[in-house]
Amino acid sequence: MMSDESRSESSNLASSEKKLEEAKKILASLILTRKHFSLYPEEHTICMNALDNLQRMTGMYLGRHGNLRFEIEKDRILSLGEVLISEPLQEGTLSFTLFRDGIRWLEFSEGIDTAELKTIISIINRYSILTDKSDSDIVTAFWESRLAHMKYEVADFSWADSQDTVVDPASDSENSGYRLLHNHMSHEWVSRAGIPIDQTALELTSDEILTVQSMIRHEEESSPTAYLDALFDSLLQYREQENFKLVITVAEEEYRSSISRKDMAGVLNILKGLQHVLGVCKADGIPKAVQDLEEFFFSLSRPQLLSLFKDVWHEIHPGTYEDVRRIFAFLRPEAIPVLCDLLQLSQSPQKQQLVLDAVIPLASQDMRSLEALLKKADEKLVHRLVQVFVAMKGDQPFKVLMSLMHHPTERVREEALKGIFQSDSSHIQDIFTLIDDKDKSVRRLVLKHMGQSRNQAAEKLLLNYLEHKMTKNTDSEHVIACFTALGQCGSIRSIPFLRRTMFEKVWLPTSSDATQKKGAIIALDKIGTKEARQVLDDAKRSLYPAVRQAMRKIYR
């Protein structure tokens, strides 16, 4: 017959076995839920159901048996000293993931809810992949999450390493710097007067409480690059080349990450800071530092750094355009090819102008890269680059525009011609050579330009052209357009030619002659002076039927 003691013992055994069984099931559920979360989106029904099941099982266990602790070894997880699960020693397993970062045990306590379990699973999944980055680890992630119903213990290497707790004292040399500096500091302070502390004066006013909250908020929201101010100040104080190289490397890292964050103000602050340091180093004659800093500024224009803007260009906010403009002011002509890429990416006129405003002065310094770019650019880019040449002054850009008049694409030729007209009207003779361009639109544009206003040079060119260059085969529409332009730019100097054209007797008149007479009438009408009107009156009364016919046609 079983004694009370053995009955109690076997009852306890059964209870422990039951606990273990339940713990095993909870662990299995945890592993399964983790797997679901890695396969499906978090909001998926499968994930939600698994999580609910896990929480229910865990809640029941905690209600019946109290806290649930899992002890972690590299390839297995135990509870109450018994192995719950053995796993292969490999990346991704639950045991290895937890063990790797030093977790000795995890313990769930009553009250753990689905939100916490979800957080735990997310963290485990996030850190299950080996990384060589130092950014964070699973322990820090757990700690930052402040899980109210999960405790854990971490073993650190140093604990095992130092079995005894005797602390080796610092050496004399380690203390010497402190001794000197702190003695100096304390001697200064001893000489200052202390004042009694009134306890009531220590109470914070409501304004001060608000100030504290503001301080904390400011600290939490501070710019990720604000610390660079300290580094730049360190350069001004401590001018060893080693420090410059180091700080410049850090500044470049921040420059890159500021661009990827689209923090243009941050980018600009970095550049302005280093620019100031460069100025000081130049003034103080520190050639090595100047060299390092200038090399950094040169590198801004190279594709390696400048192309970073391409990744974020679409998301640059209009509120930051002014900062971007000032950033681009640091660039050199080497930046032109990448800037042209940005130009192609720019949809809005403001963005396009932003880039053009950067390219134009750079191209004015050195046009070669722009010219090289033109040779292989597509129509869309050429179209935009024309604006750059238009904005630039000087013979070189004009020559480029003129060369674009022979671009195979009509649209480009038209844009170039428009640009030529906008840029510089002193090259009228060069423009006039295009009057016989095979492209009708080009011819039309040339004549439109010639006829914009009274212009003696234009008049002279047109007169010469009409008188000597026209042939009987010349397109009649073109002839009329030439005469129209003459009328718009001409003066009484054109009257003699026009009169001759009107009244010259031709033995065998052709349609070409009629066209010319028609053109002359239009020209005279547009000139509009007293002399011109006189010629027109004479034409009305002319004995030549062709002349009268032409008049009738015009004035019908």
């Binding site: 790797r100 203390n175 702190h182």
Partner: protein, 490 residues
Amino acid sequence: MPEQISHDEPSGGRLIKSLYHFTTMIRIHQDNNRSIKDCLADFNSQVSGLLTEGELSIQIWRGRFHIQGEKLVYRREYYTIINEMLEYFSARGLGGICFLSTFNKTLPEQIVMFMHLLNDSAKHEDPAGWLDSELEKNNYSWVELYRKQDESLIPQDLEQSSEQSPDMLSKKKARNIYLHALDTVRDATEKASREAGGVRKARRLAQTMVDMVYEDSAVLLQMASFKSSGDYAYMHCVNVALLAVCLGKHLGLSRILLESLAICSLFHDLGLVDPPDEVPLKHGDLNHGGLGILQRHILVGLRKTLQMDIPHDLRARIIPGIFEHHLNLDLSGFPKTHFVKRLSLFGKIIHISDVYETLTSELVDEIGRLTPDEALRRMWGEKGKAFDTILLKIFLTMMGIYPIGSVVELDSGEIGLVMEYSDKTLKDLPKVMLLVDDGKGGMMRGEIINLVDQDMDISRRTILRSIPYSRLEIQPAQLFNEEAKAYMVF
């Protein structure tokens, strides 16, 4: 272009990989084979590259290799090799190997033979013991072995024990944190001087500190009262960190900010521990530019911090505090600034903590040494100029008129040690541990009385004045942790 700071070429990983190849190749080929020679050359190069400060230690702890005490971080492509080497060591009962400085003078044949011995040791019942004896027999004094440790034998004193009161456990935890902190600062300083190292250890410590400050900040303040001239370099940093974290908590900073503040404080004087050779060791020489050299410790500390492997966000938070901790609120102090126009919150907090800790330090001479309350009164006189007034108010409220750890004389003639303030509003009536003569010329713990909570029928005791520690030759922190005294040797 300046050289990149690169932490993505783990030399430790290459060392382990080299060892793996060497032990593998040596099983297959003859010793004079070209492959063996290549392995030897590579292994030599890897060890020589890492052999600094006299030795190169490769140790295993919790399934990870640690090279020179730093956990090995490795790429995924090394994963299989690392695991195989972990198994290799485990099968031989080895917890690691240490190559000593004489490795560089070792004959190539000896290194090859050592690899054979490593491989062969697995055949023996006690591989590590057999290896040890073979190394001794062959007089291989350039290498030492670590035995595999039983990782379950960790000090259990952090675990709850039903025999210990919560107060006792709290004190023991604080003591452990303090010792761990000293070790962490020393470790970080040594690594920083080698331009290496990360902050994972410091991070763990900081997280533990933050947890502790939420549980019982008074205990941390008690530990911060520990003063010693012998170990000042590290204790100063730890004390400043404890004060700063407590102040930060009273201010209402989040846990994540407190973690960063703790790390910043631990590292704030990184540049001062090994001053440059030209620093004069006599106080008088400071007038001849020596002080400027010492002031450079801030900039040296900045450089060392930048060279450490620190996550970006953390780096961005701690740099300002390290730079500014000797700057006053009005930007007087040092170094001079052009870009920094106002102190950061961390800078202000650490400045307060650092000055207080310095003024109450045992390292300074008699002339400069102040009692804690005297120090606070001096600091209060500089509110708005040297210190942010609001932060200083909070600091003074936290510390009390007679800060925790102050030795005070009561109007009854008794001497006591301020332990804590149970009533947060009455900052001149703390809980005091009376100190009594131990009959051997020293002082020992006596009754603990709460000056707030005194029976009105018995004459109330009040504090007359504070007394410098040195006059009584006591260590407040040691008296606070009397129960844990057996574990602590200072």
